[in-house]
């Protein structure tokens, strides 16, 4: 008994590291008292490093911990993205303004709490654990979005996120209860059996249960990944939240949402979508949603003037690109079964490229806000010349986001397009290509503001409001180097991704 307990706990090492980090940070905050922010932050980074280390040492042999959490290459992949993103966000939260000094020490535990929820969310295949993980992630995100309570925008963002998030989780919970009624189980593979049975043997009423339950569950997931039509919270929340929180929401939260969405689709619906032509239309629904999501995000982004808001719409657009991969998975048929794996691989690869470039882009936005108080496109004019390193990094991240060589984003887009064409969704690929052209336009607007506009007189007139700390420079430059490096040698990532899909 104790031996099995030990092995179960060993499987959960990264989560235990994160839990320990939360508790240590809380206690330290009380012990150190004034000026505790730095100490607490350093310990937080050490804890996140420990979790990363424990994660990387996990064997790729699948283990089930406590019958609830499956530790496999898939969950290791997603948790690696989430935990490392948390580390970078934590670093940025420490070095940049945005989080007030007096609450900076409490910010760390919330951030790590969100990461812990996200880790549990992507590794579980049990609905109870899924709900608890998702709520842990959401609750910490709500609090963090409203963190700057002195600023009305931030408090509004927190409230808006919470009200709509609670509504989405209410709908999702009702969907779960219907799935439970159908299958008598909270375990995804058993639910998959019951759903398949209800679909193939049942009458119209049984079909209706499956459709309603699935729709409600997808509302919950769609909210997390900000897919159309559940995207409406994203721009305001991304704009109003402190920027480190925005980058956490755009990267870790969205990654976790896709992690659980893909696992759910893969476990519950794939047998059905592959075997039956009828439910194959489910894939077309997702394809249409993907097309609308990316078009909406890109077209609206063109009109934006505030950089954070622009990046928020671009993040909606990227959710659309990622949904293309889900559409590929669900439109694959018997004679094209390999497309499932290809679709999944392309999503995972795109997530990696999105992760690096988005963390970097928000980091650059933080740096400019910190140094010059720049928030809008006009504020950005000529800034590239006054902080050339950050400006150059920003250009590299934007190159990756739009999918131009030599950045990793190009490879991600290429894989997605290839996957989309392989299942015959040519129209979706065309729409995505048109979208990339639109995206090029507004990303170029940022680049133009940075380097092509503004004269030297104007720059000298800029009131410098602070410095960009060395650590921030370092982290952004490292991310930019990764963007280019992996854009040229993507084999390592490709290998990692295909291992995760197995």
């Amino acid at each position: 008994m104790s031996e099995t307990l030990a092995s179960h706990l060993t499987a959960l090492k990264p989560e235990i590291w994160l839990t320990g980090t939360i508790l240590v940070m809380l206690v330290l905050d009380l012990l150190v008292g004034k000026r505790s922010a730095r100490t607490v932050g350093v310990f937080g980074l050490i804890g996140i490093g420990g979790a990363m280390w424990a994660l990387m040492n996990q064997s790729s042999v699948p283990v089930r911990a406590f019958g609830l959490i499956s530790i496999d290459t898939y969950s290791i992949f997603f948790r690696a993205l989430i935990i490392s993103a948390t580390g970078i966000v934590m670093l940025h939260g420490m070095v940049f303004r945005g989080i007030e000094d007096e609450t900076r020490a409490e910010f760390g535990p919330m951030l790590v709490g969100a990461a812990l929820g996200a880790c549990l969310l992507v590794s579980t295949d049990n609905l109870i654990m899924l709900l608890v993980g998702m709520e842990l992630l959401s609750l910490c995100s709500y609090v963090m979005a409203g963190w700057q309570k002195k600023e009305r925008r931030s408090a509004e963002a927190g409230l808006k996120y919470l009200v709509y998030g609670a509504m989405a989780s209410g709908l999702m919970l009702f969907g779960f209860s219907l799935l439970y009624g159908l299958s008598g189980s909270m375990w995804m593979p058993e639910i998959a059996l019951a759903v398949s049975e209800a679909w193939s043997l049942g009458d119209a009423g049984q079909h209706m249960i499956v459709v309603i339950a699935s729709t409600l569950v997808f509302v919950g997931f769609g909210f997390k990944i900000s897919a159309f039509p559940f995207h409406f919270w994203a721009p305001d929340v991304y704009e109003g939240s402190p920027t480190p929180v925005t980058s956490m929401l755009a990267v870790a939260s969205k990654t976790a949402g896709f992690g659980v969405l893909i696992r759910f689709v893969d476990t519950v619906y794939l047998d059905l979508t592959i075997a039956e032509d009828w439910l194959g239309r489910f894939g077309y629904v997702i394809a249409v949603l993907a097309a609308i999501t990316m078009t909406y995000g890109n077209v609206t982004a063109v009109k934006q003037n505030n950089i954070k808001r622009l990046l928020a719409y671009s993040s909606i657009a990227h959710a659309g690109y990622l949904l293309m991969g889900v559409a590929v998975m669900t439109t694959a048929t018997v004679d094209n079964r390999a497309a499932v794996g290809i679709g999944m691989e392309s999503i995972l690869f795109y997530l990696v490229s999105y992760y690096i470039a988005t963390l970097g882009a928000f980091g650059c936005a933080m740096a400019f806000a910190n140094r010059f108080g720049a928030e809008t496109l006009e504020d950005y004019e000529g800034l590239g010349w006054s902080s050339p390193w950050i400006g150059a990094c920003f250009i590299i991240f934007l190159t990756s986001l739009v999918g131009l060589p030599p950045a990793i984003g190009l490879i991600g887009k290429w894989l997605l397009f290839k996957a989309t064409l392989s299942v015959g969704l040519d129209w979706l690929a065309v729409i995505a290509a048109l979208n990339a052209a639109v995206a090029l336009f507004y990303y170029f607007k940022i680049a133009r503001a940075l380097f092509l506009r503004g004269d030297t007189d104007y720059q000298e007139g800029l009131a410098s409001k602070g410095v960009i700390p060395g650590l921030a420079h370092l982290s952004l430059i490292v991310l930019a180097i990764f963007t280019v490096y992996f854009g040229l040698m993507w084999d390592g990532i490709m290998e990692w991704v295909s291992e995760a899909v197995m």
């Binding site: 609450t103 709490g113 608890v132 842990l136 609750l139 002195k150 049942g202 119209a204 009423g205 209706m208």
Partner: protein, 164 residues
């Protein structure tokens, strides 16, 4: 025996939910909401979920209603801001469609169940607790962290800052 109680509690649940949604005064809404939850607790007892019935009453009546009332008092609503439900025909239509679809699903799900099964399940607290603390121990721990995060969040957000 179940029948009159089902209609009593079920009717009360629907009635109080309607009142919660339609009355103007938020204080009244909060009280009606609790009555609706109390009726739900009665239904839980009918369904042999004794522990959940107790928790429902304790958490909702003991904690959540107090919280709601406290906040309503704290915000100190002016009376001219009180407004009832604005009935939007489009939303009513949407809700009606949703319920109609749900009806189609439920009638099938309900009919598929053999009424004899009703007596095989005993929802005693002992059984629930055993399941909770063996199979579901990880979510239980995660919920404890979630509550910790909620405490920390409320403390940070509610604390008056020095310059405010």
């Amino acid at each position: 025996m179940e029948l009159p109680f089902f209609f009593l509690f079920g009717g009360a649940m629907v009635l109080f939910t309607l009142l919660t949604m339609f009355v103007k005064n938020p204080v009244h809404s909060a009280i009606f909401m609790i009555l609706s939850f109390a009726s739900t607790a009665g239904l839980f007892v009918l369904l042999d979920a004794y522990l959940m019935a107790a928790i429902e009453v304790l958490v909702y009546a003991g904690a959540i209603m107090v919280l709601f009332l406290f906040v309503i008092m704290l915000i100190n609503l002016r009376s001219d801001e009180l407004e009832g439900m604005k009935v939007n025909p489009l939303m009513v239509l949407a809700a009606g469609t949703f319920f109609a679809l749900l009806h189609r699903a439920i009638s099938d799900l309900g009919a598929a169940v053999d009424p004899v099964r009703a007596n095989t399940f005993e929802g005693e607290p002992k059984v629930v607790a055993k399941y909770l603390f063996t199979e579901m121990v990880i979510p239980f721990e995660a919920v404890s962290l979630l509550l910790l995060a909620a405490i920390l969040g409320t403390v940070v957000l509610a604390r008056r800052t020095r310059d405010a």
